[in-house]
Assembly symmetry: C2
Homo-oligomer: 220 residues x 2
Amino acid sequence: MDSAPGLRERKKQRTRDHIVAAAFRLFAERGYAETTLADIAAAADIAPRTFFAYFPSKEALLFCDAERDLRSLQEALDARPEGATAIARTREWIAGRLEHWASDPDAEVRKRLVREVEALAAQERYVMGRFEAVLRRGVARDLGEQPEALRPTLVAAAAIAALGSLEEIHGAEHTDGIEPATAEQQLAVLDEALVFLEGGIAALQGHEAPEGLAAATDGR
Amino acid sequence: MDSAPGLRERKKQRTRDHIVAAAFRLFAERGYAETTLADIAAAADIAPRTFFAYFPSKEALLFCDAERDLRSLQEALDARPEGATAIARTREWIAGRLEHWASDPDAEVRKRLVREVEALAAQERYVMGRFEAVLRRGVARDLGEQPEALRPTLVAAAAIAALGSLEEIHGAEHTDGIEPATAEQQLAVLDEALVFLEGGIAALQGHEAPEGLAAATDGR
DNA sequence: CGCAGAAATGCAATCAATGCAAATATGCGC
DNA sequence: GCGCATATTTGCATTGATTGCATTTCTGCG
């Protein structure tokens, strides 16, 4: 896709990767709170001040991959053809990402940190909320409703919850541990979730919003 | 309910209220970031260090009411009789709280701050996640599934999303502004959401989780 | 080689959060 | 009413994340 972004860009990207790698290594070793920005900077061989040229905060570093995914999903939904629904498109997008997610070496550390540090759990929820908003807009377009309307809201919330739960799924247990779930297994769960969504939408067909009621369109 | 918690307790509660009142007033006037803990402490007539005897952080202050609600919902679900479902019980709990929420003088300021400050949006999402977890456990009990199973997850996520959207609902518009939604209107929307949930659950009836799959029961 | 713009730093200042220990205040039993 | 044991409130010092600003160090391109 993007091959020659210039030497300057590539170097910057390399530095960025170094920072992330160094940070995750330190987080894994000592924990999040116990790793200072100075530590990360030293390990990545940059000045502490420079860290902020790459990430807006220590927390943001943990979710930079998610940010990229978010943009990716947004593009996938924006570019979808007339026929495809946002939900269907999202399913395909997820299917195409599962393998990549499964091979993310930092996933486990991130999961552990999110479990242990409240601020990170909050940050993760925030990011999930942004995915939700993206999907909500897409669903709203499909249904011809405002993004703040009930159905888009419910569908997006449940769909993103399902997405989040995919990480928690695991396969068969062995005496020597737990097998990670295969992409097929994860997709199966995702499809179950879609059945739920369709059932919910269908159930709402014919239900009218009470008169005088409108979702907030509230600009800014 | 709780009338005589002792003079000491009552004094502490009064101080707590002072802090919250002072903080919200300052936040409304100058904004969140522009209000330091020192400012709040001064306005509430306490030493800066004392603030942390009441709240774990500056952010927590914004959502102390939600924390109370969370405990309240938890109790409502725990105490529910055999017959009542978690969802039904939650609906009643919400119905009983709407009036109180509508009269919260800080609600508007909080909403504005959450919109403007990313960290607060994250914190709010985190709290919503805790509501979700509480409801999820309740729904799981009803369905005889693990809290991490798909249906409890989807139902709880959608239900809490619906709850969150109630704040965004508003009534008829006038030339001179927008009328806030009545409790009846909010309940009507909430009931629509419940129709969605039931439809979704019904759609999943008969669907079996793929063999070899299990939701993470993951202790820790 | 030398310049204009982009990056990386260095430095100082804020401000939230926390540990610790001293200073106060409160409730209670005598 | 007095004094102790306990609960609170404070003061003080420190750590660490962030940020603004000015300076120095590259990089790509004539």
